[in-house]
């Protein structure tokens, strides 16, 4: 028995794979006749990464203390009051949308939207390996939504928002008395529409056109393209609606910052978008 002790002995499954790119490399790796033993190869990898993580956590916890401010005081509202950093993307949405949209509808749509991904992405390619060329739309959409929108808005919330939820540069003095003119107006008004009724209709056309009209038109136009035919009406509808809502958030942000637009659609007491 004892003679068999030979740590790190070369066993056939350790031989290196030629470096190729993308799917070819992934396939080449999978095609090798042997699977590898979990012990030691995976367990070793897990052990090393676990040790490194625990070490970082320990050093971090020794050097940086968890925050602890004054005792809770319901009569003293800090300015700004920030949510925990991982929710600042949602708090940032409050700038652009009413609370029930920013705080309830959009988060629910994010969760539901994430859950439906496997059921609406019927592209069989790119299952289990990194590829850009085989699923450009899926990756571009996800990366935009996650890295640009979500992480981007958290960054703005953490580093660029100060008292009154006004924009500050990280090195600026947080002046609680900073005066920011509130000149936001609604889109119909901006375009010269003065009648409330017409404004409402105009708003409905804009929002409806964006969420239903545009996807519908594209559907009519491209109905017979292989992609949309395979996707089918229901899946296409879900993808298109979610996509347009996400894009709509961006459009609304641009309208606000470029033209000080407050709402596009106003139905008093019921719905402001």
């Amino acid at each position: 028995m004892a003679e068999n002790i030979s740590p790190g002995a070369p066993i056939a499954d350790q031989e290196e794979v030629k470096v190729q790119s993308g799917r070819a490399r992934a396939l080449a790796a999978a095609d090798l006749p042997d699977k590898v033993h979990t012990w030691p190869y995976l367990v070793r990898a897990e052990f090393i990464s676990g040790c490194v993580l625990l070490l970082v956590l320990l050093v971090w916890s020794i050097t940086v203390d968890a925050p602890m401010e004054e005792p809770a005081n319901p009569t003293k509202t800090p300015n700004p009051s920030k949510a925990p950093w991982y929710f600042l993307g949602l708090q940032e949405m409050l700038v652009y949308f009413d609370p029930w949209i920013a705080g309830v509808v959009l988060p629910s749509l994010i969760i539901v939207g994430l859950m439906v991904i496997p059921y609406v992405d019927i592209n069989p390619k790119g299952n289990g390996y990194y590829t850009w060329s085989e699923r450009k739309f899926a990756i571009a959409t996800f990366v935009f939504g996650f890295l640009v929108l979500w992480v981007g808005m958290i960054t703005i919330g953490v580093f660029f928002r100060g008292p009154g939820w006004n924009l500050f540069m990280p090195w600026d003095y947080w002046d609680p008395h900073k005066v920011v003119p509130l000149t936001n107006i609604d889109l119909p008004y901006f375009l010269g529409i003065r009648s409330e009724m017409v404004a409402m209709l105009f708003g409905l056309v804009c929002v409806g056109g964006w969420l239903v009209g545009v996807p519908g038109a594209i559907y009519q136009w491209k109905k017979n393209s292989p992609v949309i035919r395979e996707l089918g009406f229901v899946r296409y509808g879900i993808v298109a609606t979610l996509f347009m809502i996400m894009a709509g958030v961006v459009v609304k942000m641009f309208l606000r910052h470029l033209f000080n637009i407050k709402y596009i659609l106003v139905i008093p007491n019921i719905l402001n978008v």
């Binding site: 993580l53 203390d65 005792p71 809770a72 319901p74 009413d98 609370p99």
Partner: protein, 262 residues
């Protein structure tokens, strides 16, 4: 395939340590690196048997998984262990909570580091779960047959954020109550169920009786909220999250292990 041990080498440091009377009295024989033993190491070990005993080669690569799922789980375990330590010193009432945390910070031996580790591990968990989701997306690992495990994952993501959010209130300092005030205020605007949401008032929602009041156990973030969040944070959400994690891990095996090209 048995390792090649035919060639006789000079005894190395390893042999000097292990091939002597004392060592052998403790460990009767060494670990023989045979295929059979490699399998047994995994399948006969209570901690490791969740793993398959053999797996496809790419699955062990850092560049495929980033280890992000495993490290999320490790950070979760860290918060559980340190969290239980904190529970020994913490009373979830407006009267005591803040001072109990102060006591932990300044007087309890290793109290500060337990609290720091709990907090930073929780933040780390949020970061790693996002990384994990990102890599699962990038490798297309939510595609058949793993659709449902992705859904389980999204639920875990939601629960992780809720865990962090409920925990944020517990130090009961200014940072805590105002962050939670901002967060729970949104519930006021829930359609139908919030007193300021569309159709809420028409359905009889009032500040005392709506979705937000259910969360905060009252009209403001106060002592009853603290107790409610404490129970959610220490019992309710961890149990559900743990159950879902077990399901998540089991499904990884049932779905054929770590995804790979086929």
């Amino acid at each position: 395939m048995p390792p090649d041990t035919e060639t006789k080498k000079k005894p190395g440091i390893f042999d000097v340590i292990t091939e002597n009377y004392v060592w052998r009295s403790i460990f009767r024989h060494g670990y023989a690196d045979t295929p059979r033993n490699r399998v047994l190491q995994v399948s006969a070990n209570v901690w490791l048997h969740l793993h398959p005993s053999k797996m496809r080669r790419h699955g062990i690569r850092y560049r495929h998984t980033w280890c992000a799922g495993g490290l999320t789980f490790l950070l979760y375990l860290c918060t559980v262990v340190t969290g239980v330590v904190l529970m020994f010193y913490y009373r979830p009432t407006g009267e005591y909570a803040y001072w109990d945390v102060k006591y932990l910070d300044f007087d309890v031996p290793f109290g500060m580091i337990m609290r720091n580790m709990h907090r930073w591990a929780a933040h780390g968990m949020v970061i790693f779960i996002w990384l994990h989701m990102f890599r699962v997306f990038m490798t297309g690992s939510y595609k058949p047959p793993r659709e449902f495990n992705w859904v389980v994952g999204v639920n875990l993501l939601t629960l992780t954020l809720l865990l962090s959010f409920t925990g944020y209130l517990l130090p009961w300092d200014q940072l805590a109550i105002w962050a939670v005030t901002v967060g729970t205020n949104m519930a006021r605007a829930t359609p139908l169920l919030g007193n300021e949401g569309p159709f809420g008032p028409q359905l009889g929602m009032t500040p005392r009786y709506d979705a937000r009041a259910l969360l905060t156990a009252g009209t403001v973030v106060g002592s009853p909220t603290l107790l409610r969040f404490y129970v959610l944070h220490c019992i309710f959400i961890p149990i559900i999250a743990s159950i879902l994690m077990i399901l998540h891990f089991w499904r990884i095996r049932k779905d054929g292990g770590i995804s790979g090209p086929l």
